[in-house]
Subunit: 321 residues, 2 copies
C-alpha cells in the first residue's frame, strides 16, 4: 500500500504517521510507501519502508499533480489553515483550504483519465460547517450554514468530495472532526486553541487564559479518538454513506467547567486558568454546535470517543511521560 498524507507536519498528521507505523499495515496489507507532504517538509519518521517527505503547497500549479503522479492507493487530505487564520486572511483561507483541495481532487480525476485510478480519499472536515439555525442536537444531514470562512471552505470541499465520488473519480470519505483536545505543543491560531491550552498549560504548571465562560459547552475528541476515526475511515464501505460522503465523527460534549474539574482530578491546578473574555473568540466559538447525533458513525463501526478523563489521561501518557 502506498499512502499519501497532506498536512503531514501538523499535529494530527504526525500522530497518524506514528499510528500507521505501529500497525505497519492498512486494510490487511503491508504499508510499502509513505508520501508525507506539507507546506514545510515533514520530519522523516524512522520507518522501515520507503518514505518521502515533501515541502509543497497544493494550491501552486503542478504541486498536486506531482504528488498524485505516484498514484497512492490511500490519501489522507489533512492540509488546511486553521479557523482563526482563515477568518483573518480571507485570500489565504480560500487559496489553501479551497483551491488546494480542489487542485488535489482535480489531479486525481485527471490521473484517472490515463488509466483507471480510484484511491480512497479521507478528508477531514469540521463541525464548523454547521451554523445557525442550530437544533439542540446536530444530525449528520443537518444543513451546512457555516458562519466562518473556514467553515465555508470545509463545507464547499464536502460538496466537491461528494460530487467527485459520485462521478467515480475517487472513493471519498469526509469525517467531521470535533475540536481536538488536548493538542500538544505550542498554541496555534485556531479559535478553539483554548480548548487545549486550559488543560495542557496547567498540567505543565503554566498559566492559561480561558476566553469563554465556564458554562461553555464544547464538542471534543482527544487526538487518540481522532486518529481512531481517521484509521477507521480507511476500512468503511464508501457506498454505505449513500449519496453524501460525510459523517460526524464521534466526540463528547464537555463544558469548560467539566474540563477544569477533570484537570483537578488529574493533579492539575485549575487556579492557573484565568478567565479573560475575548469577544473575537466568542464571536467564532459561540456559534459552534456542541451536541451531535453520531449514530451514523456508530452504525459504520467508528469507535466511540473517549471521556474527558481519558482525554486528560492520554495527554499525560502520550506527551508528558
Amino acid at each position: 500500500m502506498k499512502i499519501l498524507i497532506t498536512g503531514a507536519a501538523g499535529m494530527i498528521g504526525r500522530k497518524l504517521v506514528r499510528a500507521l507505523m505501529r500497525s505497519g499495515k492498512v486494510r490487511g496489507q503491508p504499508i510499502r510507501h509513505l508520501i508525507l507532504a506539507d507546506i514545510i517538509a515533514p520530519e522523516a519518521p524512522d520507518f522501515d519502508v520507503e518514505v518521502e517527505t515533501l515541502a509543497t503547497d497544493l494550491s501552486q500549479p503542478g504541486a498536486a499533480e506531482s504528488l498524485i503522479a505516484q498514484r497512492p492507493d490511500l490519501i489522507f487530505h489533512l492540509a488546511a489553515i486553521v479557523s482563526g487564520e482563515a477568518e483573518a486572511d480571507f485570500e489565504k483561507g480560500y487559496r489553501v483550504n479551497l483551491d488546494g483541495t480542489r487542485a488535489l481532487f482535480e489531479a486525481i480525476r485527471l490521473a484517472g483519465r490515463d488509466r483507471p485510478y480510484m484511491p480512497r480519499l479521507v478528508f477531514t472536515s469540521s463541525i464548523v460547517v454547521f451554523g445557525n439555525p442550530l437544533p439542540p442536537v446536530i444530525s449528520d444531514s443537518h444543513c451546512l450554514t457555516p458562519l466562518t470562512s473556514y467553515g465555508t471552505q470545509k463545507a464547499i470541499c464536502e460538496l466537491l468530495l461528494a460530487d467527485y465520488s459520485r462521478h467515480g473519480f475517487f472513493d471519498g470519505i469526509g469525517i467531521r472532526l470535533p475540536t481536538i483536545s488536548i493538542r500538544p505543543g505550542a498554541p496555534n491560531a485556531a479559535a478553539s486553541g483554548f480548548a487545549s491550552s486550559i488543560l495542557r498549560e496547567p498540567l505543565a504548571g503554566k498559566r492559561a487564559v480561558c476566553p469563554m465562560p465556564s458554562d461553555t459547552d464544547l464538542w471534543l475528541a482527544s487526538p487518540r479518538s481522532a486518529l481512531r476515526s481517521l484509521e477507521h475511515a480507511l476500512d468503511v464501505d464508501g457506498a454505505a454513506f449513500g449519496d453524501y460522503r460525510c459523517v460526524n465523527a464521534p466526540g463528547v460534549t464537555v463544558s469548560v467547567e467539566e474540563m477544569l474539574a477533570a484537570l483537578a482530578r488529574h493533579g492539575g491546578d485549575r487556579g492557573l486558568v484565568d478567565f479573560v473574555p475575548d469577544p473575537a473568540v466568542a464571536a467564532i466559538v459561540g456559534t459552534w454546535p456542541a451536541r451531535f447525533d453520531t449514530s451514523k458513525a456508530a452504525a459504520m463501526g467508528f469507535p466511540d470517543a473517549c471521556s474527558i478523563d481519558a482525554m486528560v489521561r492520554s495527554h499525560i501518557e502520550d506527551e508528558l511521560n
Copy 2:
C-alpha cells in the same frame, strides 16, 4: 441606477431586461445604465438609457474585473450552463458555474478595497441543490446534498454568497428558482427541458416527447413568476435573511398529468405528446424535489407563483400572440 446582468442573452435575462425597461426604475430610482453581458453578445434593447452589450466569459482572467470596474449598483448574476450540459461536461460546468461566479465575487471584493463598494447582488440558485434524503416538503434550511454537478456548483455558490455577504463584500441574495415552464423558443440542454416542451410544442401544433411518467410531480414557476421573484429580490432587506442568504422562490407543484390537462383546457392537443421513457433524464429529474415550504419567501413579500392554467395562459399571451 447602474445595473449589470450576466447571462443577459438567456431567456430569463432577456425577459428581465424587458421588465426593467417597462418600469424604468428600481428601488424608486431611475435606471440610467444597463450592462448586459453573456458568452455571446446580448441583443441591445431599444431602451432610452445608456446600454452596453458585451460578449464575455466570466471564467477568463480579467473578464469579471472589467465588468465590475464600472461599479454597478445592482447585479443580477444569471450566467450559468444548464444541468444536462454541466453533468455531461464536468470541466465546463465547474469552469462556468463555479469559477465564473467566484471570479465575479472576487472582482466585487477587490473593487471594494480601493473605495467603499457594496452592490446588491441577486444570484439565481436552483432547487437542484437539494437531494436525498428528501422529506415530503423542502424547507429553506433543508440540507444541500445535490445529486448532480450542476446542483453541486449552485450549492457551492450559495455558500460563497453567504460568506462574501457576511464579510460585507456585497449584499447578496440567492433565490432558488423552480423549474421554469413554459420556456419559449428552442429546447436547451437542461434535463428539465420537457417541462416546457410538452406544453410549448403542442400549443404550436407540434409533437413533443415526455421522458417521464405522467404521475411525475414537478416544482414549476412561469417566466413571469420567476421575473417577479427576481425583481422583488432587489427590494428585500438582506439582513432579513439572517446568516444564510438564500430563499426558496415561490412555485407550484404540478404533475405531468395536470400539465397535459391544462394544455387541453387551453386548446392544445395532448395527443401530440409521446411518452418515451429516458433513463438519463429520469436519473436527474427523478431526484428533484417537487414540494417546497416557501413561507420565508412569503414573509419577505415575494409574490405567489401563478397556477398551471395561468402558466399556459401567459405563454399564449407573451409568446404566441
